[in-house]
Symmetry: D2
Subunit: 350 residues, 4 copies
């Protein structure tokens, strides 16, 4: 089946209820499960197929939502009864799966990053550009309601021209050493979200300088990676961006943002787990530690991300990040890696 | 069908997955819709029937969740394929519906208040007490995660003995005048939630004094009701409680709590709509106005309320408020009304 | 010397620098020391005399500021080289000292309360009213910059008509039992500040209802006093006021205010001791406990109180509370005491 | 008179009250006035002389505190009746004045920076080192109570090892263009405070990378200076530091700090002007804009700075920053300037 965005809406007559999009999901791991749930909760989509080489995982997930399971991604893509594909499999499989979806005429929402190797990303670029089939990248943080609120208030001019953006992202704890070994390094694995957010807020980036440090994580040290990083970006617009990352934080999952404009400041704080504060003789106005899972912190973002992709598939105006967004974020990660290794500021060619 | 709490669990063998409870819902208005959604989202329940004399409302709601519709509550209660009933119909129908459910052997979760007339409440009291069929009252605020967190931290002794509790509840705007005319007055209609919360936190109440005022609402004035009220309670434990109510608030739906103990203070603030703060030359650290719908403010509470009722039906430990809780809250509302009218403190007889 | 308000300014020619007011201070205890320091720091006043029957106290304080000391208040009042008197001696001496100052033509700023006995207060009332010599009462909290800011923003209409005012005042710990025995009880000793603040914000009071409790303090129990109290006032304007008091608080000195208006809310929080917050795995955004001394919390208020009194002495517009303000606050305290003892609301006759 | 630290205390017998230090103040401008007031308020010091080539300024200031005035700094240094000198004159005069004080045996507290030219700073270095006369630098922010509180809590291990420090400093508005022309640039003029604070918190610095931008200020553009800057430091300890500066901020004077440690976070927020928050339909929990003068923000810091210098003069343990601290901050500013111009990270040689 080759549903193009045009077809998707043309099938409906005026006043007809919207037909639900039928999804195939590739990958039944943690992120796959999040997407399966988002699809099930959406009033606009149903989950039809789940593919995973780990067949028991695919079966378990598909049964929760009345879908079919397969160990073969090819079988899913060729099944003929899906309208779109959601790719939540390991990074090295992304490029080939996107290409297969394009060939099958299936819109695809692919988890970030596209790939860790820019040459492989570039190799598919022209095919994606020339195709009319939508390809969206899973930069879910753009869809966080608070981040999105700040962006729309910035665009409305509420605090004047944006001069400096600070992004603070810290995970509760470092991933397993084995994961770090295949992650592509902190800039491509973790900071990549902040690179995309930076572009979302300030547009194209002209210069990157970065420092990294090994402070606490044996896994990072083992693989020559950093567990802490600070990145400074200069946007083409002239705005500066500071990104502060750490692979651990004692207070939970940290995702903060501060947009300093000529006329004021917009900030996003960490997400509390309740509305309770406590005050005792040892301290006052204390709140419980922050939400400590990114799945929980960004639950609403995943839902909105899917909704935007459905709009994209239907040919409606959509804020879905594109393949190009995925490529640009990787270019920034590569530049940061180079800067951190050489101590030199990296200017991006355009 | 007459599912008793014992039967509900006895039907399952060891290791068997839990059978889902089949619900009949009476009332398809705003609260009925909230409960229908909670049942649908619960992994432990399904919605089988919706009854409403307004048949189109029942039909529309039942279709959303694959349930059957009827204009007759009797048909629903006698249908034979439900395990429990959720009553979300107008207050004057509650007493009769609870009695019918008891007669049919059906556990019932009934929206508050039981009734506006204490003599009618008392008349059913012994039947409820003698029956083994669970009857739960819809004091959903007990299940608000933040209120519940404060209570469990109080019970854990975190701030010592509770000496003073302040509850501030304000609605975004007054209800229609016609509603006020049948509401039973602010104490029975609005403060009743705070009376129940007060008992939830400090136990039985010994004394009630209340003042009311007509400050802004023409509807309240028309019906001789108050639009603002302040109530002071003294608990049997000795703790004092202050309740502050208003039928309007410019900042949205206000639900705040402050528990002052010998060793500290636990507070619940209003629910923000986002994590964003803004700072400009006219003011800093500003947050967007609060959530302005109680359905949104207490969405999690409705879910938890249903879960507790399902535990009750299954004979498991449950925090569901009881028929007695509903009666006690009404007694406090009556005492407050009397105190506000006479200027005298009212001592509750026990 | 008999400086009248008119004389004080008449002595200066146009463009002449202001002559400093010469003060006599009666009482060298804790509050007396605060006032001595305020006088010394003021650019408009000097401390000339300190009187205290405890002569060593008077001597020690006078030496710090280059003043003269005496054990005799009569000597101070008759010394001939002071322009005004500040009375910071024990409450039972206030009435006689105010009268002596009036007789000597000396403006007087007297610490609150005027007296614990309303008949004694009334006995001096007409003399005070008929005299042209200024008498000011030391309700310093009116001069707290944050309270004063709220009042002026209310008057500017920032949150519309004031409907409900909440005052929360709690001391770090109860006073010695002996002090409680002569204090006149919690309403006349502690709540009196809140009664004055209530009048400052909502004007004259029509009704008072109060409850008191003995929860933790042996001294209060020994003297039949309350250690905790809740008072509800209804203003002639229709606004309601809630006052919440406790003789202890684990978090420091609490002085909070919430003014709920038709269009919004103005709040005053407790005073932090620093700008620091800390976040750890056991709690986030924790601030150090509040300032725990009223002298520190209201340091700026004492300074502003003196400045207003100097304006009063000079015949300039001044916000100094009057003898009548002192009397009205005592009437409210008496009404609260009666209400707490009888359980009946007390209507104030006018 | 040549008071050495040892002499200063040797003159007192056991149990004698402390002799007050007699100060000569050089410079009667804005900062000079702050210091004059601090000296006057201190119980340990008196102001004896004020010198300023602008004699009317010196006269006006000296008269406020009963001191003598001169247009000649030499006359002040040679007057024979001062114990210490406070230098608050323009930067180009600092080096010579420090040297003159050393020659006269007078302890000196000199405003920052020592000089804009590191070669001139170095030229005096050995003389300062060999002398036993105390020389202190006016890095007043070290003495801010909140910054100092964070440092002592860090040293106490409250949040574990410090991994990342963020300093955000923004002025309410840019200085006059003429000032910028002689300021030495944003790094030597404004960031120098943050460089000193960074060393105060993380110790010696190993690497500096910086970016600057011209975003809004015509004066900065005219003189080839930056109006905005971001600096990244790596400490010898391994900790990273981010400094964010702007010459303007719509919300007032911003001085924030965040110390991220292995076990938690300590933060210093901006200083509010009152304890009031307001909530309306257009935003809730709004506070008034921040304190907008550094003199007001750091009033307590100036007092504590003087107290530390008095301890230093008396030979007691003291936290006064040294000549070396002033030199190190200038080296960091120079490195930042170089990095911002070349795009290369600068490694500091030691």
């Amino acid at each position: 089946m080759t549903t193009s965005p045009v077809d998707a809406t043309a099938e409906r007559g005026v006043g007809e209820p919207r037909r639900q999009l039928s999804f195939g999901l590739i990958g039944s791991g943690r992120i796959g499960q999040v997407h399966a749930r988002s699809i099930a909760l959406s009033g606009d989509a149903t989950l039809a197929w789940v593919a995973d080489p780990n067949l028991p995982g695919a079966v378990a997930l598909s049964e929760m939502y009345g879908a079919r399971a397969t160990a073969s991604t090819a079988e899913l893509i060729d099944c003929g009864d899906i309208d779109a594909v959601l790719v939540a499999s390991p990074t090295p499989t992304h490029i080939d799966l996107i290409e297969s979806c394009l060939d099958a005429g299936l819109p695809v929402l692919c988890e970030k990053p596209i790939d860790l190797d820019i040459s492989r990303v570039d190799a598919l670029m022209s095919k994606v550009s020339l195709s009319k089939i939508p390809v969206a990248l899973g930069f879910n943080q753009r869809f966080d309601p608070s981040f999105a609120e700040v962006r729309s208030r910035l665009l409305a001019g509420e605090v004047g021209e944006l001069e400096h953006l600070t992004l603070i992202s810290r995970d509760p704890g470092p991933p397993p050493s084995a994961y770090i070994g295949v992650s592509g390094g902190i800039f491509r694995d973790m900071t990549i979200h902040d690179f995309d957010l930076a572009r979302f807020f300030v547009g194209e980036i002209a210069e990157v300088s970065a420092v990294g440090a090994q402070m606490f994580d044996a896994g990072a040290r083992e693989h020559g990676d950093f567990d802490s990083a600070v990145v400074t970006l200069r946007a083409v617009s002239g705005a500066l961006v500071t990104i502060i990352n750490s692979r651990h934080s004692a207070v939970g999952y940290e995702q903060r943002l501060e947009a300093f404009g000529a006329d004021g400041i917009l900030q996003v704080g960490n997400a509390p787990t309740s509305l309770v504060t406590s005050s005792t003789s040892s301290g006052v106005e204390t709140r419980p530690p922050y939400v400590d899972l990114f799945l929980e912190r960004f639950a609403d973002a995943y839902t909105a991300e899917l909704a935007a992709f459905i709009q994209l598939v239907r040919g409606e105006p959509s804020g879905s990040p594109t393949y190009t967004d995925g490529r640009e974020a990787l270019l920034l990660a590569n530049a940061a890696q180079l800067s951190a290794e050489t101590g030199a500021l990296v200017r991006l060619e355009r």
